[in-house]
C-alpha cells in the first residue's frame, strides 16, 4: 500500500532522535488518534542547521517525519514555514487515502518547532 519512497523512509528513517541543545521543539498529535510527532531544531542565523524527530505512529507517520526533516534541513525558517503536509506527502510519491487523516502532520510539527524557536528567541 505504501510507495517505495515511503517504505525507504520508514525502514531507514533519517534524523531520528532529539537535537542536543535544541532551540526549538514542536509536538503534534496525540495518542488517542494514533500518532505523536516531536520535532527538535537547531536554528542558526534563521537557518535550520539541524533537525531531528521522534514519532509514535504508523509507517506513514514515521516516513513523513523522516521526509520533513530532510526537506527542512538547510532551509531558512521562512522557507520551512511554507512547507506543507501536502508537499511532504508528494515528496514521498503520495500516501494511501486511509492514511491522510492522521499521519500527515509532519509539517505541522516542524512549524510548531519553528514557532517555539521564535518564541524562545524574541
Amino acid at each position: 500500500m505504501y510507495t517505495a519512497k515511503v517504505m525507504d523512509h520508514f525502514s531507514n528513517p533519517r534524523n531520528v532522535g532529539e537535537v542536543e541543545n535544541a532551540n526549538g521543539v514542536g509536538e503534534v498529535g496525540n495518542a488517542s488518534c494514533g500518532d505523536i510527532m516531536r520535532i527538535s531544531l537547531q536554528v542558526e542565523d534563521d537557518i535550520i542547521k539541524d533537525v531531528k524527530f521522534k514519532t509514535f505512529g504508523c509507517g506513514a507517520a514515521i516516513a513523513t517525519s523522516s521526509m520533513v526533516t530532510e526537506m527542512a534541513i538547510g532551509k531558512t525558517i521562512d522557507e520551512a514555514l511554507i512547507l506543507t503536509n501536502q508537499a511532504v506527502a508528494e515528496a514521498l510519491d503520495g500516501l494511501p487515502p486511509a492514511k491522510m487523516h492522521c499521519s500527515n502532520l509532519a509539517a505541522d510539527a516542524l512549524h510548531e518547532a519553528i514557532k517555539d524557536y521564535r518564541k524562545q528567541n524574541s
Binding site: 505523536i36 524527530f53 521522534k54 509514535f56 504508523c58
Partner: protein, 388 residues
C-alpha cells in the same frame, strides 16, 4: 526470505487436503444440487456428507446444520433472525462489549429498530462477571449472545455456565464460535446453546463459507430470502465446492484437535515466555491463565510503539502478525476489545497478536524471539513516549 505466518485468527491457508476434496466440484461435478438430472444428483450426496462432517464437529445431528456464506452471515442470521422471530416476546438482547463487529454492529443496528441491548463489561483480563450477566436478564430478554472465544485475546468464555444461566431463565443463547471452532471442543451436547456460528476460513477451509448449528425446534426468521435451500432457512444456490471444503476441514480439525492443541500450545507458550522474559515493558493482553485462552493466541502490547509500524518491521523479516492499533484498522479508534478491558490508549495502539497454527514450528519461534528485540528497540528509540 523466511515467511512465518502467525495471523491465523485473521485467516488460515486452505489445507491441501481440503482443496483436493473441493477440486472435482468446480468444473466436473458442477451441478445445482436442487436439479433432478445427473449434474444435480452428482453433488447432492457431497453436500449431505459435508453436513455430517460439520455436524460431528458440533456433535449435533446433520439436520441441525445450516450452511451459509461466512461467520458474519451466521452472526447476522442468528441475531436478526431471533430478534424478528421473538419480537412478540421481548426486545432485549444481552451481549458483551468484546464481541466481533459481526455481533456488535448487528446489535447496534437492532437498537435503531427499537431493541434494547446490554453490552456487558469485561474486567482487565477480558472476562465477564456472570452475576452481572444473570442480573441483566429481564422478562423482555430474548437473546444472550456471547462469543465462545475472543479473536483478539483468545480468551475462552464460560459457555457452559452461561448456557446454564440461559436455560434457567429460558432465554435463547447464541455463541459466535468462529475462533473456538477447530481449536477447542464446541460440543453442543455438553453445553446448553441454541445457535453456534463458525466460519470456514479460520479452520483451513476457504473464505466465503460458514455454518450455523441451529438446535432442533429453534424458531428463527430467514435472513436471506429467496429459494428454499437449507430447508427454507437460507436462500441461494448451494456453494458446493466450499461446502465440501468446510466438511473436510471440520473432519480434519476434529481428528487432530487434541494433538494440535498440545503442539500449538507448546509453541505459543514458548513464544509468550520468550517475549515476556527478553523484552521489557511488555504487557500480556487477555487472561493470564493460559488454560483460559485459545492455545494459539498471544496478544501483547509492546509499550511505546504503535502497532502498524511494528507489523511493518516484522513483515520485513517475513513475520505476519496483526495489531489492535487504530492505524491498521482504517478507523480512528484502536481495538474496542482493548478499550473494553481498560487497556491504556498507548498500550492499545501497541497491542500485537500472534495467532499460530499447527503449521508453525519451534524454529520459527526461535527466529521470532531472535528478531523481535532489535525491532522493538529500534522503534522505541524513535518513539517520543519512550524514556520520557
Amino acid at each position: 526470505m523466511k515467511k512465518i505466518y502467525m495471523d491465523n485468527n485473521a485467516t488460515t491457508a486452505v489445507k491441501p487436503e481440503v482443496l483436493e476434496a473441493m477440486l472435482p466440484y468446480f468444473c466436473e461435478q458442477f451441478g445445482n444440487p436442487s436439479s433432478v438430472h445427473w449434474a444435480g444428483r452428482m453433488v447432492g450426496g457431497a453436500i449431505e456428507k459435508a453436513r455430517e462432517q460439520v455436524a460431528r464437529l458440533f456433535n449435533c445431528s446433520a439436520a441441525e446444520v445450516i450452511f451459509n456464506s461466512c461467520g458474519s452471515e451466521g452472526d447476522n442470521h442468528a441475531i436478526k433472525g431471533t430478534a424478528d422471530a421473538l419480537k412478540h416476546k421481548g426486545n432485549h438482547i444481552i451481549t458483551t462489549s468484546v464481541e466481533h463487529p459481526a455481533v456488535l454492529e448487528t446489535c447496534e443496528a437492532l437498537e435503531k429498530d427499537g431493541f434494547e441491548v446490554t453490552y456487558l463489561k469485561v474486567d482487565h483480563n477480558g472476562m465477564l462477571d456472570l452475576a452481572e450477566l444473570e442480573a441483566a436478564i429481564t422478562d423482555k430478554t430474548i437473546l444472550i449472545s456471547v462469543m465462545w472465544a475472543n479473536n483478539e485475546t483468545g480468551n475462552i468464555f464460560p459457555i457452559e455456565e452461561i448456557g446454564e444461566i440461559a436455560k434457567k431463565h429460558k432465554v435463547r443463547f447464541h455463541t459466535d464460535a468462529v475462533q473456538a471452532a477447530g481449536k477447542i471442543a464446541i460440543d453442543v451436547r455438553k453445553v446448553n446453546v441454541d445457535m453456534v456460528v463458525i466460519s470456514g476460513h479460520k479452520i483451513g477451509a476457504p473464505k466465503g463459507i460458514g455454518a450455523m448449528y441451529l438446535r432442533r425446534g429453534t424458531k428463527i426468521s430467514r435472513f436471506m430470502h429467496g429459494g428454499h435451500q437449507e430447508r427454507n432457512r437460507r436462500a441461494g444456490t448451494h456453494n458446493v465446492p466450499s461446502i465440501v471444503g468446510l466438511g473436510a476441514a471440520c473432519d480434519i480439525a476434529l481428528k487432530n484437535m487434541d494433538k494440535d492443541y498440545a503442539y500449538v500450545r507448546h509453541l505459543r507458550d514458548k513464544l509468550e515466555a520468550g517475549i515476556l522474559s527478553t523484552i521489557s515493558d511488555v504487557k500480556l493482553n487477555g487472561h493470564p491463565d493460559a488454560n483460559l485462552r485459545l492455545p494459539n493466541t498471544l496478544n501483547v502490547s509492546f509499550n511505546y510503539i504503535e502497532g502498524e509500524s511494528l507489523l511493518l518491521f516484522f513483515d520485513m523479516k517475513g513475520i505476519a502478525a496483526s495489531s489492535g492499533s487504530a492505524c491498521t484498522s482504517g478507523s480512528l479508534e484502536p481495538s474496542h476489545v482493548m478499550g473494553a478491558m481498560g487497556v491504556d490508549i498507548v498500550l492499545a495502539h501497541s497491542s500485537t497478536r500472534f495467532s499460530l497454527s499447527a503449521d508453525n514450528t519451534d524454529e520459527e519461534i526461535d527466529y521470532i524471539l531472535q528478531e523481535l528485540p532489535p525491532i522493538v528497540q529500534k522503534l522505541r528509540e524513535m518513539s517520543p513516549l519512550y524514556g520520557r
